[in-house]
């Protein structure tokens, strides 16, 4: 095959083009200019997440994040959204295990409006009871819908199998029983206790001068004071499953079953992460879903989708294979996937296959960085995982340096086709339902980290 793509390093985010400032109150500010764009994106996170809510309050961080826009000391719900929608902008919050993220987009001329609103909803939300009650009802409806989704149910069951009593077993959006109990007072208290500028990251990318954006952020946020401490958001490591841990969720009246199988994966900070990400690309991403797509979709024609995902966050997020299949094909697909898992730990990929995947990782970077959202996401990702301000400029060499043995080592360290969690959801199982535990063995699964970031 040909050479790896060559990128113009100067076009990639780096210390020369990304302004970085640390404010006295613990906020890290980042900005990159893009004057070919009429818009501006704000992206970032606070060091508060679902890990702080407690099992009996599952969903509280998510509820609190969603309630921020429901009313402030200055504005009511309708006025907040009138402000944002009348200028064709958006501002969203989302809770994860380790952080609450925010993202905003608007025309560059409206950056001040967006920052005013971001500041207001973060610092002075009022959590009006009627609004939070309504939001809770909406969330309960969403959970009732989730209860009937084969993909969501298989994923929840998978997380329970691999994480058991680990915090990652609990869905961030909570469950019906816990969400039904959440009140405006709970959200208010959670906000008062944990929301702080300490460790907050805010990144601005778009058609605005970086210095101007820095001043705009600094002017609004420097007076926000925390106590100088970031809450403990670490999680314990997780042992891999012992034997084939299997469960099936019966969902009457469905046409298709969803299958999720895998293991706890490496955190982003793991030295083998990049090799594991390439192994994952080979296994179930490259082209039309990699080797798994080749065997399950292209050769056997058994599924519309069958792919693998390596989450790679702060903690031991999952490394999983997902497939949507006719219930009668469930067992066949499961065995085909196990076969591919066996192959990837038995021998390294050949040089051409590895080069193809390296070329894919390097060559797609310009496309990932085409939009303001893409650039902001990449900068925030590097900051979240302390990858360094020149990470994307070094990235092509980093990928080029991965060897066939690196891939094999990373795959062998984490994947074992005889020790897997396997969850499915769909029509009542014609397949044997079982939960077994055989030939278990321990593998280091690393320390704390979070689910949901990209694999760059």
């Amino acid at each position: 095959m040909g050479q790896l793509p060559r990128l113009d390093i100067k076009t990639l985010p780096g210390p020369e083009t990304v302004l970085r400032q640390e404010l006295d109150n613990g906020i890290t500010f980042l900005a990159r200019e893009n004057f070919s764009s009429p818009s501006v994106v704000i992206s970032g996170y606070l060091r508060v997440g679902a890990l702080l809510e407690g099992t009996h309050m599952a969903g509280l961080a998510s509820m609190t994040a969603a309630s921020l826009m429901r009313g402030t000391r200055q504005r009511k719900f309708g006025q907040i959204y009138e402000t944002i929608e009348s200028i064709g902008a958006r501002l969203n919050f989302a809770a994860g295990k380790h952080s609450i993220s925010f993202s905003a987009k608007g025309l560059a001329e409206d950056l001040g409006v967006l920052l005013d609103l971001l500041h207001e909803v973060l610092l002075t939300p009022t959590f009006p009871k009627a609004q939070v009650d309504r939001l809770r009802a909406e969330k309960l409806t969403a959970l009732a819908i989730r209860d009937q989704e084969t993909s969501a149910r298989a994923d929840l069951a998978f997380n329970q199998l691999i994480y058991a009593d680990h915090p990652y077993a609990i869905p961030t959006e909570g469950n019906k029983e816990t969400v039904a109990q959440l009140t405006a007072a709970n959200a208010r208290s959670f906000h008062r206790k944990y929301f702080s500028p300490d460790g907050m990251v805010i990144c601005v990318v778009g058609g605005i001068k970086a210095r101007q954006a820095a001043n705009a952020v600094s002017r609004r946020f420097t007076s926000w004071k925390g106590n100088g401490q970031v809450p403990d958001l670490s999680v314990p490591s997780v042992s891999p499953p012992k034997g084939l841990q299997r469960t099936h969720v019966d969902l009457e009246g469905k046409s298709q079953a969803d299958l999720v199988m895998g293991i706890p994966g490496p955190p982003r900070s793991d030295p083998d992460f990049v090799s594991a990400a390439l192994a994952n690309n080979i296994l179930g991403r490259f082209g039309m879903f990699g080797r798994i797509g080749d065997i399950v979709r292209e050769e056997a024609g058994l599924a519309y989708y069958a792919y693998s995902t390596l989450v790679g966050g702060i903690g031991p997020g999952p490394w999983q294979v997902v497939a949507g299949v006719n219930p009668s094909n469930l067992e066949k697909v499961l065995e085909l996937i196990r076969g591919e898992l066996s192959k990837i730990i038995k021998r390294p990929p050949d040089k051409d296959e590895l080069d193809d995947n390296k070329a894919n990782f390097i060559g797609r970077l310009p496309l990932q960085l085409e939009s303001n959202e893409g650039v902001a996401g990449a900068i925030v990702n590097a900051e979240r995982h302390s990858l360094g301000d020149d990470y994307y400029q070094k990235y092509p060499d980093l990928i080029a340096g991965v060897t066939r043995d690196d891939i094999l080592r990373a795959a062998q360290r984490f994947i074992d086709p005889d020790n897997l969690a396997i969850a499915s959801a769909g029509p009542p199982a014609t397949a044997e339902k079982r939960t077994s535990s055989k030939r278990g063995r321990k593998k280091g699964a690393g320390a704390a980290r979070k689910a949901g970031e990209s694999q760059s």
């Binding site: 793509p5 058994l302 006719n326």
Partner: protein, 429 residues
């Protein structure tokens, strides 16, 4: 920044649209074919979508499995879509790799193999795709609403096709559909990105110029007769959540009502995002959100107006709260729609609709893929002028025009009311 657009036609009939954009080292190549679910009859419903799948299953130059690998290796993003009026393929590639995209698209315009074994294998994949959709209550509801709204016109069936046809369509049916429709004269090639138009046109001529024009299929359009009264459909299925869908008769994209209807949509359910990529904006200040969600009858409501060749649907979908009912949601919708029929929307609502559309179009212009999308997509139901003049036309809409179009279009006797009625089953682990 965005530059000039070239519009030309090759001798074989292929329409070519080229747009220079020098903001990123990327080029997005799109091929749009004027064939979709609209061109299907009972017995072969879903065939356009299936042909799209087969376009990834190999030619003599790019045998099955090599095409997606070749593009992925170059870091490209690629995909394909089939809908009512069209089938589209795109590759967004690093600028120095665009030759591959041109080669692939010219090749599969005429040389796809449709190997019988691949057809059989893909049958299962497509059936699996449909089964995945059937798992969704809103798909099942929308399918029945479409069938009720279009008794005669081929917008009657969903793009995926009816399951009965997916079991019986044969290899030769697929190949015939492919050969009859994948012709230069039935296609638009749209390329946007970092290139010089003159250089790109030479490359286009090299790859696409030699393709013979071929005889094009003729389709007779079966116009939908005037609906004589309101139609109601109920879909029963698993779950605990009810959904309500209202489908009114919407204008085709080139109709003078389309732009005022877009303002109406913005006021009633929030601005529709016509872009294929990139998120839209929230709709919490729209009239129906206020009435239904703040009124604690529904958990969410969305509306949608689509740009089509023939009159299609203006749809509203509400997720009913468990402490409410579809009947209550319908009554509240009717109250709110009556308000639109009684009195014109405010100037502020029109101004907001314009600003929202401007912002959404500005966001779209940032992505080279999205620019390539609009360059070809707009040609499927109008011309690129439709896209380029959209904001100007929108900014001239008056409240009285919105009132007029509301009175003409939001007519209960010409709508379909669909209800997904859950049977209350609860999943058990």
């Amino acid at each position: 920044m965005s530059g000039a657009v070239l519009r030309t036609r090759l001798r074989n009939g292929l329409e070519v649209r080229l747009k220079e954009i020098h903001t990123a080292p990327l080029i997005s190549t799109w091929v749009w074919y004027r064939v979709g679910a609209r061109n299907e009859v009972p017995g072969i419903t879903g065939i356009s979508h299936w042909v799209e799948h087969m376009q990834f299953k190999g030619t003599p130059t790019f045998p099955a499995g090599t095409l997606d690998r070749a593009i992925s290796r170059e870091g490209g993003s690629w995909n394909a879509f089939t809908w009512m009026d069209w089938t589209a393929y795109f590759e967004t590639m690093p600028q120095d790799r665009v030759e591959l995209a041109l080669k692939v698209e010219a090749d599969r315009m005429q040389n796809s193999l449709f190997d019988p074994a691949e057809v059989d294998s893909e049958r299962n994949v497509i059936i699996s795709e449909r089964e995945g959709s059937e798992n969704e209550p809103t798909f099942r509801l929308s399918e029945e609403v479409h069938a009720a709204a279009f008794r005669v016109h081929p917008y009657h069936h969903m793009t995926i096709g009816d399951m009965a046809d997916l079991h019986t369509i044969k290899r030769d049916d697929l190949y015939k559909h492919y050969r009859s429709n994948y012709l230069p004269g039935n296609a638009v090639l749209a390329i946007a990105g970092n290139f010089k138009i003159s250089t790109m046109l030479r490359r286009v001529r090299k790859h696409f110029g030699p393709i013979p024009s071929g005889p094009k299929s003729e389709y007779s359009d079966r116009a939908e007769p005037e609906q004589p009264g309101e139609r109601r459909v109920t879909v029963e299925g698993p779950g605990q959540t009810a959904f309500l869908e209202l489908a009114y008769q919407g204008p085709e994209a080139t109709h003078e009502d389309f732009i005022p209807m877009a303002v109406l949509d913005s006021a009633l359910t929030g601005a529709s995002n016509l872009n294929l990529f990139g998120g839209g904006i929230s709709n919490k200040t729209s009239r129906l959100y206020t009435k239904l969600v703040e009124g604690e009858l529904a958990a969410s409501v969305v509306g949608g107006l689509a740009a089509t060749i023939h009159p299609y649907l203006y749809s509203i979908m509400a997720t009913v709260r468990p402490d409410s009912s579809p009947e209550k949601v319908l009554a509240a919708c009717d109250d709110e729609i009556q308000r639109l029929l009684d009195k014109a929307v405010t100037k502020e609502e029109v101004t907001r609709a314009i600003k929202q559309a401007k912002a959404l179009f500005a966001y779209a212009s940032e992505s080279i893929t999205n620019q390539g999308f609009w360059l070809g997509y707009s040609e499927m139901f109008a011309t690129y002028d439709w896209f380029e003049t959209y904001l100007d036309r929108l900014s001239k809409v008056t409240p009285d025009q919105v009132l007029e179009v509301a009175r003409k279009r939001l007519i209960p006797s010409r709508r379909v009311v669909g209800v997904y009625s859950p049977n209350g089953t609860t999943a058990a682990a």
